[in-house]
Amino acid sequence: MNTRDLIDMAVRNLLKRKVRTLLTVLGVVIGTTSIVVMVSIGIGMNVGFAKQLESWGSLQVIEVYPSGGMSYNEETGRMKQEKKKDALDQKAVETFRQMEYVEAVSPVKNLYGLYLIAGKYMADAGIMGIEPATMEALGYKVEEGRALSAEDSKAIVVGGAVEFYDPKLSWEARWSAEPPQIDVLHEKLSITFDWNYGTRNADKSIKPIKVEAVGKLSSEGSDSWRVIMPMKELEKIEKSQKEWEKKKYGSSSASSTERNKSKEFEQVLVKVDSMDNVQKVQQQIKDMGFRASSLSDELEAMKETTKMLRLVLGAIGAISMVVAAISITNTMVMAIYERTREIGIMKVIGASLKDIKRLFLTEAAFIGFAGGVIGIILSFLVSLGVNLVASRQGSMMQSSIPIWLYLGAVAFSTGIGILAGYLPAVRAMRLSALSAIKTE
């Protein structure tokens, strides 16, 4: 008997007893839906975590800091300065760049106490200097305009939450005033380190540096208040700031210059090709003696805490699937009682044992398959509903169904059908042909 005839016959047999088939399929639909929805909520939790973390920064980026922090010495019971190993310098950056899975590496310099000037307004700006060519790869979400590129020099990208104010106003007035709407992309901008700029006390010897804003970052998340510019330009600003300080106060303030002398970066960002490889690369960097952290650390920890919860959810779904499986078995056993004579006739006129077994297995598989397909459609709708209600209530809970879960659910329910139909099918196969045809 060929497969096409087998399927044809199985489907016709199922359609013959529509109500019963429908009810059994309904059981599988409920089973599939409950498993898929439960699992999807478990997955949704993780996706929710990832989204939340992503608003803080890219999950694929590792932040590397120089070695040599303070550590606790167990023997002496005192904190002590760790010995320095390799410096986090250009050489280290090159080493990171050569590592497997690494897509982009950029040293980072943060400079505070700078101001962004737009006409008569100004804004406080912490400026972050990076390798401009790597900006896009590092995952900064540019909402308007573009990211920095290799050719940029006096270009900046401004965070969406950077707020301008009128420096002539008093502090109180600044707080209460509506911030001016400034379209940074079309405004002439410059940067200064003169905190008195725009007031009577402004230092005329400090010349603001003209810059062009090429892009604007999102107004949400941790990068929203940043101004990002090419590392080289930022270093120039830093240099002139120091020179000015030296002139004015006779000496430069201490700490930050030390690093500069040893050419060590305060921070290096390493972008990895996928979230799955972040931990691997991070460990390698740690093994080299640097301190490294990433948001994926947090994600791993969160996933671990919810593992148990996800298992329980899955088990709840599985129970209804077991009930559905029993109902498939029941339906098939009933069918065999009813069709005893038919089975006998088929055997007598040339059906092989395998044909009989396959016929019943196919019928059971179809019940599982149909239930699975309808089940995932229903799951999709339920998932939409859960997300709608959750987002209305501002709940963190959400349901997320990846493609593999849809396909897996149909495969699983079909498999359950076959499993549940196996014993009845063997029973049908073993019926004595003679007594079967004598059955009235």
């Binding site: 006739i345 006129i349 059906a351 092989s352 044909d355």
Partner: protein
């Protein structure tokens, strides 16, 4: 008349009913010859149906051997028996045994479906054989839309479609009126003779035996006598 196609050697079939042993077939030896129409004649309880079932492999003998060509049917397992029936045997039953949800055409093609014959070929063959039994116009009717005679024609078509060497008919006319009975017997023996197929008919009706080349009379599970018909003289010869 050809060689023996089925050899029955000292076959017994004993049913255990509690402590009682009922010998339905009690030591029968018989050769069924290639191409003959053989009639197993006997009263109810004579063991004729049991003997037929034994030959078709639907039941296992308690003792003795049944050899089809060179194969021992009594030694076959279920899989082999299914294969044997598919390849070599056709059945006609008293109660037709058609599948009620299938049309005449589909009922007839069923043996070919199990054999794995492609759709086009089996539909052609089904139409051919339905024409031969005079039912081409009812091809797409279901059994409950047909008379008893028509249903039996469908069942005959189903038995012959695969052109098996042997066709077993168990009281094929038991549910039919006299006129239809003769039509049916003409049809079934005609089909069998045309392709030199062997036909074994079980009946209690003496009149049907006039269609047979040989009549095996059974009583109490034993062969009472075997009659051989000589058509030219119309006389009955005892073996």
């Amino acid at each position: 008349m050809g060689e023996a196609i089925i050899r029955i050697r000292n076959v017994k079939k004993i049913y255990q009913m509690g402590s009682e042993s009922i010998p339905a077939v009690n030591g029968i030896s018989l050769n069924i010859r290639q191409g003959e129409v053989c009639c197993l004649l006997g009263k109810s309880g004579s063991g004729k149906s049991t003997l037929l079932n034994l030959m078709a492999g639907l039941e296992k003998p308690t003792e003795g051997q049944i050899i089809f060509h060179k194969k021992h049917i009594e030694r076959m397992d279920e899989d082999q028996l299914a294969d044997f029936r598919q390849k070599y045997v056709g059945f006609v039953f008293q109660s037709y045994n058609l599948l009620p949800t299938l049309t005449a055409m589909e009922n007839v093609t069923l043996p070919l479906i199990f054999k794995g014959v492609p759709v086009k070929e089996r539909n052609e063959r089904a139409m051919e054989i339905l024409q031969a039994v005079g039912l081409e116009e009812r091809a797409f009717h279901k059994p409950h839309e047909m008379s008893g005679g028509q249903q039996q024609r469908v069942s005959i078509a189903r038995a012959f479609i695969n052109q098996p060497p042997v066709v077993f008919a168990d009281e094929p006319t038991g549910n039919l009126d006299t006129k239809t009975t003769y039509e049916m017997m003409d049809l079934i023996t005609g089909l069998a003779n045309k392709n030199n197929q062997t036909l074994v008919i079980v009946t209690h009706d003496l009149e049907l035996s006039e269609y047979a080349d040989r009549i095996v009379m059974l009583q109490d599970g034993k062969i009472e006598k075997i009659e051989k018909k000589l058509t030219e003289k119309g006389e009955i010869q005892y073996e």
